[in-house]
Amino acid sequence: MGALVMSKAITIDGKSVSFIDGQTIMDAALAAGVYIPHLCHNPEFEPHGNCKLCIVSVNGRNMTACTMPAAEDMVVASDTPELDSDRQALVQMLFVEGNHICPACEASGNCQLQAAAYYLKMLSPHFMHFYPPREVDASHPDIFLDLNRCILCELCVRASREVDGKNVFGISGRGIGTHLVVNAASGRLGDTNFAVTDKAAQVCPTGAILIKRQGYKIPIGQRTFDHKKISEVQMEPAKRTEPEHE
């Protein structure tokens, strides 16, 4: 009985993808080399499911691939013009919600928000910009925290909690006022026990958490997503796109 572990399968865009019980649609897709766009998901941490880029159509109903357990007979559509158009709108929403000024950002070229936008062929943010007043925190000796670029994916929250065991980051506020907070009464990153070697310092998909003194070490034009699509990069599990630190 137990020998046929991989016998279960779902269909993604016409391709049969096997899964084992407990895997999500995203897990099964990643294992099979099928790219489903995502920003808040990183297989190293508990799925979160809030960016909604990975929404796929399962037997005609929209579901979040990174949190939905795979089940037999699921017919999943992901790579469709309709879904990609809706995903592009989500990326556009993330762009106008924050202050994403790519030419002035050290993460440009390595930024997954930008890369997802390239992948989805976004030519403009389309919606009205909110230009919210947000803080830049340079109090930490080794790390910048620039909330202008935070997309609330909570990867740093999860990394600090699950891997570093520190809980340096959390989320407060609600609605459009939802924002990242750090574990200090002063609200300053420099007053936390955050370290440059922490996992949480390596996982930001944008330039919200940046390691200091790394600026332009790799020139624009030679960065991760300058020549490779995010779909290719994220399908190379061995070479994750982490900035190196000293």
Binding site: D86, A89, L90, M93, F127, G170, S172, I176, T178, A185
Partner: protein
């Protein structure tokens, strides 16, 4: 005392920890008390609470920043919150709020310089049939007018504690206008439990099945099915939760049920507990109804004395069940069952990823049933009178009766109970609606019905409703109504998922633009686009339904916005001339080049 210095915080909070213990799931309860002591949650209190509960500071700050009735900045000794439901708006609350602010030299949303009071608006307080309404330090004020506000201003000026204010200010009426089988028939406490014990749990569940009872919160899930699933789910404990977080604007029936039929509701919970095997129940009471807390605690105490709660209920050995009341703290999303459970656990009210569903993994990850107040009252009746009796009322797919909270442009607002299947025009006649033009059925997340569709019927198969029934007469500005709803969703989005967090804001901004006379056909298309993204990509029902009023207006009420539109294809997103105002002030310029039309 300086508002930001708290040298004795440990001593001040010690009794709070004493009362609630130091379990992490007591966090919301503790923070509610911290708010009452300091009129906000100071950073020092966050640190203190975090260390006592053994949770990260970020978690405490996260919860404190989520709920509207908690605040990270001082809101003063007195916080007056005007209800901004559309009925309160029609009854003149915006003008009253302006009057009050003007009178006391206040700016809405800001605390007075002496840290004495602040004024703001809040989502519907559930007093739509006796508005305009407000909350003072969480206590409901009804039937507001200028005279009452003058009186309130004087009371605040004299620093009179709210508990000593004249009771007439706080009078809340039931206004039951039409009672059916649920509200009209006598009920003897204990009868439903006794019937359940006599019949047995399995047989009572069969009665629930036969009754066809579906959830009254709006979604209409079968109660028998939910209870069976939970009953069959393995777990160390099972829980039953009464969802009394009646947040849908325009709904107030649960307030009346809890005020005058609390025994029936508790009895429904106890019957449910017997069937699913729960020993602990929770009643999640929305913060706006805290004034009912004392009365409800008394009901629970009386039931314990009567052997209807506690150990060995009605002498049945091993039938142990009790109910604990949890107060919300100002968050519409906590009416969503998984967000409600998060809130019960003392966390931010954010809807969980599903599956797993609460029936298998709910409160503390244990099998949990969450049912609406009215559903539980129905269940108690069914336990006594049987499923067949209940199924004979209403329609085939929608059995039983439905309690409506009727407000707006009608002579007799209040509570009306009808068998399912009742047509809107009959209801409108009964409540004395004068020249009705539209009805918002089931609140902002429901359906805006135009007069030509008044033949439609209240039922799961036609017009499902959680109970709100707001009447608008001819001449009401539908665009203004929709603007009110769009603002509501933008205020109540929990902020978890991208489409709802950003989409509700975009929707609000575009509706505002049209309301201000700057909209074009392009903006209508944008509203449809944003609405589509929210409907198809959101995490939970809030996002899925947040575009409903806007899309209903676009489809059914073209007269509401067409005359407001510019003839051009495109208008700037922002007010060009307004965006020059700051620079005009700084430079002192007022020449032609300092203006844009």
């Amino acid at each position: 005392m300086e508002p930001h210095e708290f040298p004795h915080i440990e001593q001040q909070l010690a009794p709070v920890f004493e009362r609630h213990g130091c379990e992490a799931n007591q966090l919301l309860k503790i923070l509610r008390e911290v708010q009452e002591i300091f009129h906000f949650i100071p950073p020092a209190a966050i640190t203190c609470v975090a260390s006592h509960l053994g949770v990260p500071r970020t978690q405490v700050e996260g919860v404190a920043g989520f709920y509207f009735f908690l605040s990270l900045k001082s809101v003063g000794e007195y916080r007056l919150l005007f209800s901004n439901n559309v009925t309160d708006q029609m009854q003149g609350n915006p003008e009253l709020m302006q009057y009050f602010c003007h009178k006391l030299w206040l700016e809405s949303g800001k605390v007075s310089e002496d840290n004495l009071l602040s004024v703001d608006s809040t989502s519907c307080t559930g007093m739509c049939d006796q508005g305009p309404a407000a909350l003072i330090n969480g206590w409901p004020l009804t039937n507001l007018d200028r005279d009452r506000l003058d009186m309130i201003a004087a009371l605040i000026h004299d620093k009179k504690p709210v508990c000593d204010w004249p009771s007439m200010l706080f009078e809340v009426k039931d206004n039951i206008r039409r009672a059916g089988t649920l509200l009209g028939e006598p009920f003897e406490p204990g009868a439903a439990i006794r019937a359940t014990l006599d019949r047995g749990s399995a047989a009572t569940l069969m009665e629930m099945e036969a009754s066809g009872l579906r959830g009254r919160g709006g979604a209409g899930f079968s109660v028998a099915r939910k209870w069976s699933l939970c009953r069959a789910s393995p777990g160390d404990h099972h829980y039953i939760v009464c969802n009394a977080d009646e947040g849908e604007p325009g709904t107030f029936k649960d307030r009346v049920l809890l005020n005058s039929y609390a025994d029936l509701v508790c009895e429904g919970m106890t019957v449910g507990a017997r069937i699913i095997g729960a020993t602990q129940g929770f009643l999640y009471l929305r913060g706006e109804y805290r004034y009912l807390l004392k009365k409800l605690e008394e009901v629970l105490a009386r039931r314990r004395v009567a052997g209807l709660l506690g150990k060995n209920i009605l002498g049945e050995t091993g039938f142990d069940f009790d109910i604990e009341i949890h107060l919300g703290a100002g968050s519409y999303i906590c009416g969503e069952e998984s967000a409600l459970i998060e809130s019960l656990e003392g966390k931010r009210g954010r809807p969980r990823n599903r599956p797993p569903f609460p029936v298998t993994h709910g409160y503390l990850d244990q099998p949990t049933v969450v049912d609406n107040v009215e559903t539980l009252a129905c269940a108690a009746r069914i336990a006594i009178q049987g499923g067949e009796w209940f199924a004979a009322i209403g329609t085939t797919q929608s059995t039983g009766s439905k309690i409506l909270s009727i407000a707006g442009d009608c002579a007799r607002p209040g509570i009306y109970e009808y068998p399912f299947g009742i047509a809107l025009h009959e209801i409108l006649d009964d409540c004395g609606a004068e020249d009705p033009y539209a009805v918002q059925v089931s609140g902002p997340s429901g359906i805006l019905v135009p007069s030509k569709e008044f033949g439609r019927r209240i039922s799961f198969e036609d017009l499902p409703t959680a109970g709100a029934f707001t009447v608008f007469k001819r001449g009401r500005d539908i665009l203004q109504i929709v603007q009110n709803f769009a603002r509501f969703f933008a205020h109540e989005s929990c902020g978890f998922c991208t489409p709802c967090r950003v989409g509700t804001q975009l929707q609000k901004k575009i509706v505002d633009k049209i309301t201000h006379g700057h909209g074009t056909v392009y903006d209508l298309e944008e509203l449809k686009h944003v609405g589509h993204i929210m409907q198809s990509m959101s995490h939970c029902g809030l996002g899925h339904t947040a575009a409903n009023p806007v899309l209903d207006m676009l489809e059914k009420f073209p007269d509401a916005y067409e005359h407001k539109l510019k003839n051009f294809a495109f208008e700037p997103v922002f007010d060009l001339d307004g965006a020059l105002e700051t620079a005009r002030k700084i430079t002192g310029r007022d020449d032609a080049w300092a203006h844009l039309s």
